[in-house]
């Protein structure tokens, strides 16, 4: 699930992967523009790949590798912050 990463001098980065969110045919063009990229319950979580750190190792994670499991994805403002 977590692929171990080789680490060089460049800071690695990740990003969203896969198709754009599905557009339902009955959407008007205006609606499509407004809802594009908006997260909605009942719809697929946008897939992504991301480098990370876990238990002493640098790894690469792809969200879709977690299909079949429940996932809690938690964003936060930053390391060494207070809350």
């Amino acid at each position: 699930m977590a692929e171990k990463a080789e680490v060089g001098c460049a800071r690695p980065t990740g990003g969203p992967v896969g198709e754009e969110p599905v557009k339902t045919p009955q959407d008007t063009p205006k609606t499509i523009k407004e809802v594009r990229g908006m997260i909605k319950v009942g719809q697929k979580a946008p897939d992504f790949v991301s480098p990370g750190y876990q238990k002493g190792e640098f790894i690469n994670i792809k969200l879709s590798d977690y299909l079949g499991k429940w996932v809690l994805l938690c964003f936060y403002p930053g390391d060494f912050t207070f809350v």
Binding site: K44, S50, G52, S64, V71, C74, F75, P77, F80
Partner: protein, 139 residues
């Protein structure tokens, strides 16, 4: 608890390691067990609606994703206010129960494991007040 945790911020994986080693391992025995992901530039956070371009950081967004990859619930808070982990567990357990019963049971406001569920159907329309009391949301 039946879910995989992924945390994500704009910090690099090198900073994640330092935070784990120098502070978090003093708060949690053995350090952080789950992957701490790095979202430099906020590309993933932008798609999830939690990236603040002006501050260059991500808000406290928390997304519950089911085994089909579908978002079942989410919460976003501004940085100064922390989450309630117990509430996340409550919601996760509620979504898991709904999935296990294939929607035959629903969890009313304030439900937690062991408390009454509702079984939606035509007979219940307009009759929720007979089987469920508002106080049950708070006990």
């Amino acid at each position: 608890m039946g879910a995989e945790v992924l945390s994500m911020s704009i910090d690099s994986m090198f900073v994640h390691k330092m935070w784990n080693d120098n502070e978090l391992s003093k708060m949690v025995d053995g350090g952080v067990p789950f992957p701490m992901l790095s979202d430099a530039g906020g590309k993933v956070g932008t798609v999830y609606g939690v990236y603040d371009e002006n501050a260059g950081v991500e808000a406290r967004g928390r997304f519950i994703i089911d085994p089909d990859g579908v978002v079942q619930g989410y919460e976003v808070l501004t940085p100064p206010v922390g989450r309630n982990v117990n509430e996340t567990f409550r919601q996760l357990q509620a979504f898991q129960l709904v999935r296990e019963t294939a929607g035959k049971e629903a969890t009313p406001s304030g439900w937690k494991p062991g408390k009454q569920t509702l079984k939606p159907g035509p007979d219940l329309v307009g009759k929720v007040w007979e089987v469920w009391k508002t106080e049950q949301a708070f006990d």
